[in-house]
């Protein structure tokens, strides 16, 4: 039980103390786990992921990361901050937010530079990622000129290059073409095989089914209504319908065990 990466107990959070975004969230994440968070728009998924990345802190309740309490002040400790940022990487839902340098290349190497990773190592990783994500032609272009999908790829690279143990992805495949989506899923599965913890938020039930050991369902009330193995969650049509994850008419096809309800 000691061996938890994240431990959230009765966490509440509201933006500007007015807009509730998380309500009584309890969650344990073990190393090497693949976890997806699903839920309707505005149900608190991004908020949760930002909290896991130590960007916002609970209004009530506690969050522990690697055994240490995550509180406002802890990131003032340079060592802790550096260590945490190296171990945990977040890919934001909106790639515009994540890209702020004059060129894609500078954006990609921003993280490792801040974290003091060796220059040679950075170059090596850059080269490798450029190949994997097919970024060669994008590197010298300003990010604001790229298409949404290209931006997403660059944003992905800018976090992957840090090579964190815990990879948090906020709707990583939204807006990507099927082939790129495939590449990214494979990449995630691969890095999970090599021991990384993966935390994803998504509306894509197929992605959730394929990739997760455990799925958490957020309700419009910003709380976790159910968690469990993919088979268990995805066969619960009522639950999925209640949380805007499938249309009601998709029920017409009486699928039995293996369902892709949202595809119809």
């Amino acid at each position: 039980m000691d061996n938890l990466i994240f431990e959230l107990k009765n966490v509440f959070f509201s933006y500007l103390e007015r807009f509730p975004a998380l309500s009584d969230v309890n969650l344990n994440i073990r190393p090497g786990e693949k976890l997806t968070v699903v839920g309707a728009n505005g149900s608190g998924k991004s908020t949760l992921l930002h909290m896991l990345d130590g960007l916002i802190f609970p209004g009530r309740g506690t969050i522990k990361a690697f055994g240490a309490d995550l509180k406002e002040g802890v990131f003032n400790d340079e060592n802790f901050s550096k260590n945490f940022r190296r171990k945990v990487g977040l890919i934001f839902q909106n790639p515009d937010v994540q890209l702020f340098c004059p060129t894609a290349k500078e954006d990609i190497i921003f993280g490792p530079l801040q974290l003091g990773i060796e220059k040679e190592e950075i170059e090596n990783r850059l080269e490798e990622l450029t190949g994997v994500l097919n970024l060669k032609d994008l590197l010298d272009r300003p990010p604001h000129q790229l298409s949404v999908g290209e931006k997403r790829k660059v944003a992905l690279a800018s976090t992957l290059i840090i090579d964190p143990d815990v990879l948090i992805l906020d709707e990583p495949t939204a807006g990507l073409d099927p082939l790129t989506t495939r590449h990214i899923i494979n990449l995630l599965v691969q890095s999970n095989d090599s021991g990384k913890t993966i935390i994803i938020s998504t509306h894509d039930l197929r992605l959730a089914e394929e990739i997760s050991d455990i799925i958490y369902v957020f309700s419009p009330g910003k709380r976790i209504v159910k968690s469990g193995k993919p088979e268990e969650i995805l066969s619960d049509g009522q639950l999925l319908r209640d949380n805007n994850l499938i249309h009601s008419y998709s029920h017409k096809h009486k699928n039995t065990t293996h369902i892709h309800p949202h595809l119809h």
């Binding site: 940022r85 977040l90 515009d96 994540q98 004059p102 500078e106 220059k119 840090i162």
Partner: protein, 274 residues
């Protein structure tokens, strides 16, 4: 109709000018003379030129310095037309309010060169006034040229780093960096908002309605860009930013950097003594 087109073209024209001038890194990534210099030495020497320009009282010397800036632009593969456009843009503003009034006897008494009669008012152009104005304009254009040289041939992150190296307080440098990001996001938002309006109501907006849309958009623009800016800051934190932007190339000054510095120093000293 015509009015709308005019507004449309000036919005997109203004935006692309802003983008080109603030974000374009095209010239900074060219392989020219100034680009090849160590950013620290480049900054120091170009600023030295600016100081020199401000100290010089002879127009001939100023013209020579201006020629130097043009030569540097040429050597740094900066398109002459682009360079002139970027630098002369400031001139009308300055000359209208400062230089132009100064040529008349009311502000600068002296030898009469010409007399103008406008609406019964007699205006006397003086030699001292004219040469003072010419000096002023040359001085402005020359110093602006050196600053533009610096900003177009240096990547913005590097410039921020140089400022830190020169002992400018971090708060200052950080604020500058944030301004940059802020403008960046701002431009994007304006562009998208504009497109969104266009897609919803078409280009031929009725002017009353158009005004209302623009007004309410400007209000929300501020809020949205503030929110985005905050989000961007989080994204920077998430990747380990702690207030000090780091850039890849650690600056290394080579022989030609030192030679160039020596050269500029010599000019500076000679001109100052003379």
């Amino acid at each position: 109709m015509i009015k709308n087109n005019f507004i449309e073209s000036s919005i997109s024209g203004g935006l692309s000018f802003l983008k080109e001038s603030v974000f374009s890194d095209d010239y900074a990534s060219q392989k020219g003379f100034l680009q090849s210099l160590d950013p620290r030495i480049k900054t120091a020497t170009l600023l030295l030129f600016v100081v020199q320009v401000l100290l010089t009282k002879q127009i001939v010397v100023l013209l020579c310095l201006y020629a130097v800036s043009l030569l540097l632009a040429f050597l740094s593969k900066i398109h002459l037309g682009f360079f002139l456009k970027r630098t002369w843009v400031f001139i009308p503003l300055f000359s209208l309010f400062i230089a132009f009034p100064a040529i008349f006897s009311i502000f600068t008494p002296g030898e009469t060169l010409a007399t103008l009669k406008i609406a019964g008012l007699e205006l006397i152009v003086t030699r001292q006034g004219l040469s003072g104005a010419a000096l002023f304009v040359t001085r402005v254009i020359t110093s602006v040229s050196f600053v533009v040289l610096l900003s177009t041939t240096t990547k913005h992150f590097k410039l921020l780093k140089v400022l830190r190296i020169f002992g400018i307080p971090q708060v200052f440098v950080m604020t500058l960096g944030m301004c940059y990001r802020y403008i960046f996001l701002f431009v994007g938002i304006i562009e998208n908002t504009y497109l969104a309006i266009k897609s919803r109501v078409g280009t031929k907006v009725h002017s009353k309605r158009g005004q209302r849309i623009v007004a309410s958009n400007i209000a929300s623009l501020y809020q949205r860009s503030y929110r985005l800016n905050e989000d961007v800051y989080q994204a920077m934190l998430s990747r380990g930013y702690n207030g000090e932007p780091l850039v890849l190339n650690n600056f290394k000054a080579g022989l030609r950097d030192w030679l160039w510095l020596l050269c500029v120093l010599t000019i500076f000293v000679t001109l100052t003594i003379a």
